[in-house]
């Protein structure tokens, strides 16, 4: 979104928003999302839970896309880093009496450190090998979480204290909304900075980037560590929202879910993950709850959807957006969809 040439503009608010990586259309969507849980059909507790899940998946997809799309390093053990953050945060909260929002950073820190270590080993390799390696790291972490019963309570799940004492879901929703906003603003800010230029160069043409004096290993490691750290941070929110973390969270199937959302949203767009996540989660939950007699149908549809997207719109929602909204026939739509 931020690659447009800057025009002279006196609109201070618009400029500030553009600096943060938002188009007018994005702000509109954000405003709608923020008041959605107060509007009648959506103010029921279970729908707010879906919204929370959607925001969480969206934030996870943004952080995934930061390495998966921008530098083309697919972290196929992504949910292991997410789950590590959840476990770390839950364990710290159980053993020390600290405020939970502070503890959530422990989740981010632990995943970031692991991401740094894994990155130091694997990021010298090519994309496919990195993907396999992170996948195996994910499998190993899941095995550890299942086997280290004394620490993680194994498959029975680790019980974590909730973030807020009252039972309402609304504060959780605004927490995760702010967290996903922070994720987006920080990561898109990095992508638009000079570091991000190096990232994009590495993602598009490694040889060219190296010829221009970019050290791929260093930038890849920075990117990967950040992506993992954000995953752990969001994972910590998961732990304190659902209050129970099982090894199942670390499985490949969950990674695939995030990956599908990120790719449906459009790779290397960052915002695409957020846009795709909420309709996706709602669609999945609706199909699952309305077709109980046909278990697994929602997953079949989602596999089908993934294949069709890959065949016909490999760029995902971002490609559709570029084709039909940013270059729309209507002047107002074009204006809304570009940064002022």
């Amino acid at each position: 979104m931020g690659n447009e040439p800057q025009k002279q503009n006196t609109n201070l608010f618009g400029q500030a928003m553009a600096r943060l990586g938002f188009t007018p259309l994005g702000i509109l969507g954000l405003g709608i999302l923020a008041i959605l849980p107060l509007v009648p059909p959506f103010n029921q507790e279970y729908l707010i839970r879906w919204l929370i899940m959607g925001c969480m998946m969206g934030a996870a997809a943004i952080a995934f896309d930061f390495s998966g799309g921008i530098i083309a390093v697919v972290n196929f053990g992504y949910m292991a880093f997410f789950g590590l953050g959840a476990y770390a945060s839950g364990l710290v909260a159980l053993h020390w009496r600290l405020p939970p929002w502070f503890i959530m950073f422990a989740g981010g820190l632990s995943s970031g450190v692991l991401g740094f270590l894994v990155g130091a080993v694997t990021l010298r390799l090519r994309g496919m090998m990195i993907m396999c390696f992170t996948w195996f790291v994910g499998l190993a972490l899941m095995g550890l979480a299942t086997k280290m019963v004394t620490v993680t309570r194994g498959p029975r799940g680790l019980l974590c204290p909730p973030l807020y004492p009252d039972a309402s879901n609304l504060p959780y929703f605004y927490t995760i909304l702010v967290m996903s906003l922070v994720t987006y603003v920080v990561l898109s800010g990095i992508v638009r900075s000079h570091i991000g230029l190096a990232f994009r160069a590495i993602g598009q043409n490694m040889e060219g980037a190296r010829t221009s004096g970019v050290n791929p290993l260093r930038y890849r490691m920075l990117n990967f560590t950040l992506s993992c750290a954000f995953a752990g941070w969001i994972g910590a929110f998961y732990a304190h929202f659902y209050t129970v973390v099982t090894p199942d969270l670390l499985s490949t199937a969950k990674t695939v879910e995030v990956l599908v959302i990120a790719y449906i949203g459009g790779r290397s767009s960052l915002w695409g993950g957020m846009v795709a996540a909420i309709p996706f989660v709602f669609g999945m939950e609706l199909i699952r709850s309305s077709l109980i007699a046909l278990p697994g149908l929602n997953l079949i549809l989602y596999g089908l959807f993934l294949i069709l997207i890959m065949l016909y719109y490999p760029g995902g929602a971002a490609q559709v957006y570029d084709l039909y909204i940013r270059n729309s026939r209507f002047h107002w739509l074009r204006k809304l969809s570009t940064t002022p």
Binding site: R126, M129, G303
Partner: protein, 347 residues
């Protein structure tokens, strides 16, 4: 080396092989196998051979697909699942028929029939997958081919697993044994005839496949496509047909492995995960696209898992191999046997 007399030529080749990564790892694996066999009894070796052959077969299909089409197939385990499913239903219906009309020859041939049916189903499924999905992608765009294909196979995997669940349910559909005969004894180890047959079958298929790739014209065409696609096209090879064939062979091998291991892996929706992980371990260890190295890798991984299970305990067989693979990757990014995969510095 050509000028040297034959004997020293052979010796030089041997010395080269012994000091290469492949040689060292094979020797280390053989040593480890011998030591554990001395410590724990020969059943370790027998176990390794039975499962290793099958993992080799699965990994060979995976490597073939990667070599010929650059597809890293995440749905490979699902073709294994398809094999178990088809073999189960074929074998069950034959058993029901046999209860009504006993016939010893049919009873003897029933498992072979079931396994062949499974392999055939895998072949057909492979052709269909290629025609319906990958041919369409080939026609459309070649950009980001590896990643797009990988995602498509992810989708395929999800679809196949859940279709299984939707159509035939999540129950375990398995058999206790194919042939109702007492186990055979090798080196004082009792091994069921099913396992013995499975490992022999794996060996036969591997040899046939090797001969096919080496000596037939179609096998040569497959190797040509895997070396250079446009070159093969210019030489008049129908690349599309070869790619469909490679997909069919790959899926057929996975389904064959599933069919012949039905007594170990009863058919249920996610039965393919374990074979999938194992064949991917193999691929990583030997390097992508290395078809023949996959066989040695299959035994290597099987040995590693058997040893882990014996000495560390059940459930650790993913943790330890991953650490070993990490070591291998750090030391040799292109895999033990070397192949097209390189580090970013030498891309």
């Amino acid at each position: 080396m050509d000028r040297l007399p034959f004997r020293s030529r052979v010796l030089a080749r041997f010395r080269l092989w012994f000091t290469s990564a492949a040689g060292i790892s094979i020797i280390v694996a053989a040593l480890a196998a011998t030591l554990t066999a001395i410590d724990q009894g020969p059943y370790i070796l027998v176990n390794t051979f039975v499962t290793g052959g099958m993992w080799g077969l699965m990994a060979m299909g995976l490597a073939l697909l990667f070599g010929v089409m650059n597809i890293s197939n995440f749905a490979h385990g699902e073709y294994f699942m398809l094999g178990t499913l088809v073999a189960y239903y074929l074998f069950e219906s034959i058993t029901k028929y046999l209860i009504r009309t006993p016939n010893s020859i049919v009873a003897l041939l029933a498992p072979i029939f079931a396994i062949c049916g499974a392999a055939l189903a895998g072949l057909i499924a492979g052709v269909m997958t290629d025609k319906i999905v990958f041919l369409q992608l080939r026609k459309r765009s070649r950009e980001e081919w590896i990643m797009n294909c990988f995602l498509i196979t992810l989708g395929l995997s999800v679809i196949l697993i859940n279709t299984h669940q939707l159509v035939v349910g999540t129950s375990y559909k398995g058999i206790t044994q194919y042939w109702e005969v007492p186990p055979a004894s090798i080196f004082g180890v009792y091994i069921s005839v099913d396992r013995l047959f499975a490992s022999i079958l794996a060996g036969i298929i591997i040899v046939i496949f090797w001969l096919y790739m080496k000596f037939t014209r179609i096998g040569q065409a497959i190797r040509a496509v895997s070396q250079d696609e446009s070159g093969a096209l210019m030489a008049g090879i129908s690349v599309n047909k070869i790619q469909t064939l490679a997909m069919a062979i790959s899926c057929g091998m996975a389904a064959l492995a599933g069919g012949s291991l039905l007594f170990m892996y009863p058919s249920y929706p996610t039965v393919g995960l374990e074979p999938l992980y194992n064949s991917w371990f193999v691929i990583i260890v030997v390097g992508f696209g290395n078809v023949m190295g996959a066989i040695a890798g299959g035994f290597f991984i099987a040995l590693l898992q058997v040893i882990t299970r014996t000495y560390v305990g059940e459930g650790w067989e993913y943790v330890i191999p991953v650490m070993l693979i990490a070591l291998i990757l750090i030391l040799r990014p292109s895999g033990v046997f070397g192949s097209k995969v390189r580090g970013i510095w030498e891309q």
